[in-house]
């Protein structure tokens, strides 16, 4: 993996050569081939899909559906199991609003965790309120992890739905999904997996994992904004009803009746985000080409270096020393993360301060907010050095001015 070459693929570095970008968990930088794919759409097509029978639209429709096949292949799913959405949040909502609201009833139990991003806990909180089902939280270990044993402790014969993140966007922990999914299915329950923070770093084989639903976003994996994917098992999607009705999702329309298209189209009304779909394909091709094993290894090397450095600085608390990915959550003792982050910004170190759309994690850690640094494929050892230098100087500064 030639990082210098990889960095050339990210034009933001051309504009800001000194930028130390460590906010990938919020959004990754966008790779040049993705931007090229988007430009190719607007410069050489810029027409609609599915609807035209002239050559330009026909060709584009083929490219567009090839992108769906690329996503399907990437997940080891079938073409019709891939639904394009606005983003991971929208995809996760589709499961809750289409499946959850219709299938659950009072007495049923939904298992979630405090590690969930708001986009995976709030839809199920809503479903619980609307259907009378009970929302149950997996107890986390002291370290903040979901374990198979803790999962077993809440799994009952009433469990009908499980909604868990694959990788936490604050703690970076990977959930042991495979045994959890097997247990879930033994109870006849279904599982929705939030892969927004895992797919950018590792391939997922949905057949092997045997998850029922899985969602992710393009903008976290070098791809465009405005595109997400819901994978769902065919037989489940077949039975589910759409949450939106309109053009392109139906066969016959009568004044008072409609017959729906088959999956995936019945879930995709209206003109799709064509440019973003083509960009997502380019992002997947890009990551495949580099190789995700190499990416994860690289991230982890940088993260280990960073953790080592942080340990040698006093007055810093790291919340996830055993993180499984490139994500580090930490704070300066006595300094609000919002204060700290301004310091880093002055050094062109882009970090995140806040609750990261995961307030239940903040409550678990008993802090109002944290700093978060993410290392990804385009980061270098230099980035780690710059990061650590800025941290050290900031720590001195805040101590000196009396924090």
């Amino acid at each position: 993996m030639d990082i210098d070459k990889i960095r050339q693929d990210f034009p933001v570095y051309k504009k800001y050569p000194k930028l130390c970008y460590l906010d990938t968990a919020a959004s990754s930088l966008t790779a040049q081939p993705v931007i090229d794919a988007i430009n190719d759409y607007y410069n050489s097509y810029s027409v609609n899909v599915h609807r035209g029978v002239y050559q330009l639209s026909f060709e584009l429709t083929q490219k567009y559906e090839q992108a769906r096949q690329t996503v399907a292949d990437y997940l080891n799913a079938s073409f019709e199991e891939i639904i394009f959405t606005r983003g991971a949040s929208s995809a996760l909502n589709l499961v809750a609003m289409s499946y959850g609201l219709n299938a659950l009833k009072p007495g049923d139990e939904i298992i979630v965790s405090e590690l969930e991003h708001h986009s995976h806990v709030l839809p199920w909180q809503h479903v619980a309120k609307k259907t009378g089902a009970t929302l149950i939280y997996v107890p986390l270990t002291k370290e903040g992890r979901i374990t198979v044993d803790n999962f077993k402790a809440v799994l009952t014969n009433n469990t009908k739905m499980v909604a868990l993140t694959h990788v936490s966007n604050v703690m970076g922990y990977e959930t042991p999904l495979k045994p959890i999914i097997a247990l879930t299915h033994e109870k006849g329950a279904l599982i929705s997996v939030d892969a927004a923070q895992s797919l950018p770093h590792k391939t997922v084989d949905v057949k092997d994992l045997d998850c029922d639903f899985l969602a992710f976003s393009g903008h976290k994996m070098c791809g465009p904004t405005g595109i997400g994917v819901l994978y769902g098992k065919k037989h489940l999607l077949d039975e589910m009803t759409p949450v939106e009705y309109g053009g392109d999702m139906n066969d016959y329309v009568e004044k008072h009746d409609v017959t729906l298209k088959d999956i995936p189209y019945k879930f995709e009304t209206g003109t799709p985000p064509i440019a973003a779909v083509l960009g997502l394909k380019a992002a997947i091709d890009y990551l495949k080409n580099i190789g995700e094993t190499a990416i994860l290894k690289h991230e982890n090397t940088l993260k280990d270096l960073a953790l080592e450095g942080l340990e040698s600085i006093d007055g810093i608390t790291v919340y996830n020393k055993n993180t499984d990915t490139g994500i580090i959550a930490f704070n300066f003792d006595g300094v609000h993360p919002h204060d700290a982050v301004t310091y880093f910004d002055e050094d062109d170190v882009a970090l995140r301060a806040g609750h990261h759309c995961a307030q239940l994690v903040m409550k678990f850690l008993n802090v109002p907010a944290t700093l978060r640094a993410t290392f990804y494929l385009y980061n270098t050892k230099d980035d780690v050095a710059v990061f650590l230098k800025s941290i050290k100087a900031a720590r001195t500064f805040f101590t000196e001015i009396g924090f």
Partner: protein
């Protein structure tokens, strides 16, 4: 280092030793709860107005140093002023922070220490949130 312009001593003093801190349950006070949860800011400003004069201001909550200290500075500066004067001080302060023209004859006192924020637009909100909350209460 630009940051020294931001974290001036007066600010740190108000952050460490906040004036008028702690809420009251006295129903003659108006309360304004400030929501900025994405920053972890959670501040309440209480004020008691009688005959056009702000008799008391209280505040409490958690947040960054700029947010918490500015609530303290605000309480100190605007206590015992008339509502009209308070509104013009608030306008001057907010304009100073957002790099817009303001009447230099208005005495900002300790609040002047926040002038440096104008170079940190990402922190404008921290420095103005308490002030805008009080403005909202006063204009009700």
């Amino acid at each position: 280092m630009r940051l020294e312009n931001l974290y001036r001593q007066i600010i740190m003093d108000h952050y460490k030793n906040p004036r008028n801190k702690g809420l009251t349950s006295d129903p003659t006070y108006q309360s304004e709860h400030i929501k900025n949860p994405s920053c972890g800011d959670d501040i309440t400003i209480q004020s008691k107005v009688k005959d056009g004069v702000i008799e008391d201001i209280r505040h409490d909550g958690t947040g960054c140093s700029i947010c918490c200290s500015s609530a303290s500075v605000l309480s100190q500066r605007l206590k015992q002023t008339t509502v009209d004067e308070a509104l013009s001080v608030i306008t001057a302060y907010v304009n100073m922070i957002t790099n817009q023209p303001y009447d230099p004859s208005i005495e900002l006192e300790d609040a002047e220490a926040y002038e440096g924020i104008k170079d940190f637009p990402a922190r404008t909100k921290c420095a103005t949130i308490a002030w805008k909350a009080l403005e909202h209460t006063l204009k009700k």
